[in-house]
């Protein structure tokens, strides 16, 4: 089992209560959501239409003093931060991450701003191992770009995160480009988090909407495929040559076959996308990283290793636990699946490169031996 240093690229933090968060909304929006008695607050999150029959959270992650999993720092510290050699985790929000699923684009934009400020004030000071995603509402890309630039000087707001898709176009579509322009300008990777299927703006499964969580979870890679091919086809990596893209929680083993197909199709369809300068797989080799969780499991270990080798998995994979979700992957589990020679890169070094960090700017791990 790998026992070295770790960067965990997907940890979901949550609000303890609505009230805790509402204070971060502007006065006007506080009035808009205000509790009016029996009706309560205007809902701050969009509703998930596909319930997981045994819940979305690991049962052991509910804090002893109440609240949602991921809402209590001490529980998170004990169960995750101090349990292994973690030098940094990247917070990715919980249900709140679905701001782009809101129908009201202005409310979504305000929620994203306030959620980022809430994270900066209520989470980052608690532990220097914590960093956060910059949550943006994709409904208004220019406003999203402004939100990214607002955090340009905060080195602990480390990536731009997209989840739900408000416009039913792949994320490479030009309507989203202001977001990527700001991400490139501020040196932040763009992270697309899987799992938008079944929320207010699903659009994450080809062929038709899914109606079971079993379908949605199995098919999450579909959305990643859509967005990745969209990024390539619309020339996002040509337009923003320094942009880095991280695909979170979409699996990884599908990438080689997608790229084989994509390269082949490009050779026959170049006339439609003559702005591409390289084979699709060459863009991916330079611009794209994927998180390990949920890593596909093959009947024999060598099969998944062979497949991941085709995408240079030793360099392109970054570790993520997905704590506190029900399908979180343990370090022990991932290290058993991957060759030992990959471990340090996947658990630590690849993320350092992706985020452009130096050793000196990361805090030391503080593992507490069991």
């Amino acid at each position: 089992m790998y026992t070295g240093e770790i960067i965990d690229c997907d940890v979901h933090h949550a609000r303890g209560s609505d009230e805790e968060f509402v204070a971060y909304l502007s006065k006007g929006w506080r009035e808009y959501v205000a509790d009016r008695g029996p009706a309560g607050l205007v809902p701050l999150t969009v509703q998930d239409g596909l319930p997981n029959p045994h819940g979305f959270m690991r049962a052991d992650t509910y804090p002893e003093n109440g609240g949602a999993p991921g809402s209590d720092y001490e529980t998170l510290r004990r169960q995750l931060l101090d349990r292994s050699n973690v030098r940094r985790v990247i917070l990715t929000f919980g249900d709140d991450s679905h701001v782009s699923g809101h129908h009201n684009p202005y409310f979504a934009t305000e929620l994203a701003r306030a959620l980022n400020d809430w994270t900066i004030e209520r989470w980052l000071p608690k532990d220097d191992r914590l960093a956060s995603s910059i949550l943006v509402a994709c409904q208004l890309p220019e406003r999203a770009a402004a939100e990214i630039r607002r955090h340009a000087d905060n080195r602990r707001m480390v990536q731009v995160m997209l989840v739900d898709n408000p416009y039913n176009y792949g994320f490479g579509h030009p309507v989203f480009h202001p977001i990527y322009e700001a991400a490139e300008e501020t040196g932040r990777p763009v992270a697309i988090h899987g799992g938008a299927g079944g929320w207010a703006n699903p659009a994450s499964t080809g062929g038709g909407n899914v109606t079971l969580y079993f379908e949605a979870h199995t098919l999450w890679p579909q959305a990643m495929m859509t967005h990745l091919v969209s990024f390539i086809g619309h020339g996002v990596f040509d337009k923003y040559p320094k942009l880095r893209l991280l695909l979170i929680e979409g699996g990884a083993a599908w990438l080689p076959s997608l790229m084989w197909r994509c390269d082949c199709d490009y050779k026959g369809l170049r006339r439609e996308v003559p702005w591409l300068r390289r084979l699709p797989s060459e863009y991916v080799a330079e611009h794209v990283w994927l998180t390990t969780q949920p890593l596909e499991i093959s009947p024999r270990r060598e099969q998944i290793v062979e497949l991941l080798s085709w995408m240079n998995g030793a360099e392109r994979l970054v570790y993520s636990s997905d704590y506190p979700h029900w399908d979180a992957d343990e370090v022990k589990h991932i290290s058993a699946q991957l060759p030992q020679s990959w471990h340090r890169r996947v658990f630590f070094e690849n993320a350092m490169k992706l985020y452009g960090w130096s050793e000196a700017e990361l805090p030391a791990s503080r593992m507490v031996n069991a």
Partner: protein
């Protein structure tokens, strides 16, 4: 071996004509003051490449913009759409793949193809 395939006026500008020459089918086309001859056999999957789209080269300075380089005749096979540089026969996106080209010239108003 040079073969006289007819008067130059029988070969309209920018329109591929496919002729049976011996055991081969050869596509011949005039493009400006040049003339090209290629084997009607795609090196990708054996398609009749000369029946595909013949055009200048579509290029792009940036995503979303198309420009036409009319000085670079390009032939796209009707099977699978792979494109070939008509002057060299090389596939645009796979330099290892070529369709066969034959030297062609106009002499005294006649088109001559060298089929060696």
């Amino acid at each position: 071996m040079s073969v006289d395939v007819g008067p130059v006026d029988d070969f309209p500008m920018k329109r591929m004509r496919v002729l049976d020459i011996g055991a081969r089918q050869v596509g011949i086309v005039r493009w400006g003051d040049r003339i090209f001859a290629v084997h009607n056999l795609c090196s990708h999957q054996g398609g009749p490449v000369c029946h595909g789209v013949l055009s200048g080269r579509l290029t792009s300075p940036r995503p979303g913009e198309l420009t036409l380089d009319d000085s670079s005749p390009t032939l796209a096979c009707p099977w699978h759409g792979w494109e070939f540089d008509l002057s060299t026969g090389t596939a645009l996106l796979d330099k290892k793949l070529r369709i066969r080209t034959f030297p062609a010239r106009i002499v005294d108003g006649r088109v001559l193809i060298d089929l060696k």
